[in-house]
Symmetry: C2
Subunit: 372 residues, 2 copies
Amino acid sequence: MTQTSSARPAPAATAGPVLVVGAGLLGASIGLGLRHLGVDVWLQDASPTAEAVAQDIGAGRSCRAAGPAPEPALVVVATPPDVTARTVAEALERHPGAVVLDIASVKEAVLEGVRELGGDLTRYVGTHPMAGRERSGPVAARGELFTSMPWVVCDSGRSSPAALAAAKNLAVDLGATVTFMDAREHDATVALISHLPQVMSSLLASRLQDTPLHHLSLAGQGLRDTTRIAASDPHLWVQILAANAEPVVASLHGVRQDLDRLIATLEGPEAPGARLDIAQLIAEGNAGQARIPGKHGGAPRAFASLTVLVGDVPGQLARLLTEIGEIGVNLEDLRLEHSPGQPVGLAEVSVLPNRRKELVEALQERGWKVVQ
Amino acid sequence: MTQTSSARPAPAATAGPVLVVGAGLLGASIGLGLRHLGVDVWLQDASPTAEAVAQDIGAGRSCRAAGPAPEPALVVVATPPDVTARTVAEALERHPGAVVLDIASVKEAVLEGVRELGGDLTRYVGTHPMAGRERSGPVAARGELFTSMPWVVCDSGRSSPAALAAAKNLAVDLGATVTFMDAREHDATVALISHLPQVMSSLLASRLQDTPLHHLSLAGQGLRDTTRIAASDPHLWVQILAANAEPVVASLHGVRQDLDRLIATLEGPEAPGARLDIAQLIAEGNAGQARIPGKHGGAPRAFASLTVLVGDVPGQLARLLTEIGEIGVNLEDLRLEHSPGQPVGLAEVSVLPNRRKELVEALQERGWKVVQ
């Protein structure tokens, strides 16, 4: 599964020619993936440089350099969210025989925009490959970017079966897992599972702006995990949050109610019921966190974890994982904990609960320090 | 470094007998670590069961079962935060020759409590080993729990040099990294780097209580990371947040100001300046996140990352890391991304920026799929 790069890919279900409008990270990655399947791909970008770079990395042919392009069977609009609706409407008008998809991470605003601009909704399908990155631009593009990632497909309400099939085929060709939702349901979902976490992480991380570094040096994995996505690109997130403001605000009002309740409680922590209120907030967090599905989208499953001491030199972690493989226990998750001030790492290994005891004993027999 | 469990440990700087009051996860772990160094440890817990279990796992001798205990040179109070001050004061009175430490995760409330109870502050030092876990109880105890973790030592303001030395020796004996701070500075620090992340993670996760599971199945690593610590124990966090309410509330007021600003902005996303406000919030998050120190408490350092496709079977990840070791590039961090719906994993490998290109090429030569 890791070494199929030389294997012959399955034939593409996507029929070309495909015109990709917007040759950034996602557009160029789609081009690369389709080219790998032998599909005829043409690239168009407002930036001549991006268009040229995308062609150079093999994402398809530049309309400027290699045009005129043939009439496309499929147009994939991969522009920034704030110009997506207009670009879709133009493509629908310019290519009356083509199915037009977009891949913006918000869907209802784009659908409304296309409708207002009089676009032919029977040939339009909004989609969202959930494979964003902090990095951007065609240079960062990879054909496998969408492998095993969710790809949401949103019927416009009038999308033709052929248009929906084209959207599904593209996602499947690129190795993604397809989920069908309408635009409103999609936007409400990403507001909660993607946009709200971004906002909360940014709100938390912004509190650290004036913290002395020697205080931050005491930070543990909890702070690192909760603030990791706060490193995301402001320019992109302005467009996402502005375009999905309504459901995000609805969630934020809920957060503010809980926050106000907690602040009031903590301002009188000895008041009757105060401790109960605090416990309830934490317990509500327990309940929500426990509902996040486990690996492979399966039902939530609690894994048992053990933490092993590993030296911070090349090969140590590899040897640990090799020996876990030899012991025959499947690794469900792995997390490295950083070690302030010492050249030692802690590897937290998650396994099925009924395998933990066996693994701990086998590792200790082999001389590993199982910390907890 | 991973295989020293059989090596002879350095002689303990801590002089026994040591009385550990409170035989939970931390108290029993301290006992185990000291016993491993040959120190005479006695255990006392309000729960006869916990005291017996702690003795059974080798954390020391039960005062009930093996007493009477000799007069201790050092008393370590490892009770729940809400009874710590009283327990410290009692120990100071009962053992006039002993240094008394506590390890509660809040320090000023304990210090004030001991002072109000008339405890001898020259023999008292508040400390905080930053090695908490979701799991609790003596069964979860491990002697290496504190290895390479920060351990904050707080002068009472009147602590004697001998008492401070005893606190430092205990932390060093257990392999921790010692940091000196006064109680107020400690509490302000953990409010920001530990208590605020807990609150934000709980506030976020509690929004997920009513979300359909098929929506949560679209969740990516961002949601998982930001909500992981929301699984923490409500009973413990009630005590921590109540005891450190003042600095936590101060931070929460800052969060609420930013949140109110964002809500107002998102309620009129087309208003002039709205997008600038949103961008500023995200950028402030970037700035705060970038200040979190890197591995080993060093200065923040940006690593270059690459993501490699690995099959979800035992040994695949190990082979990847083995080959990275063979290529001779040191792994700075590793993160497994879950793959909704497909039996494939994505390993995000972080390395020094100037080694990334070399590693990507070497891995691709060996047939690995480098996704991004």
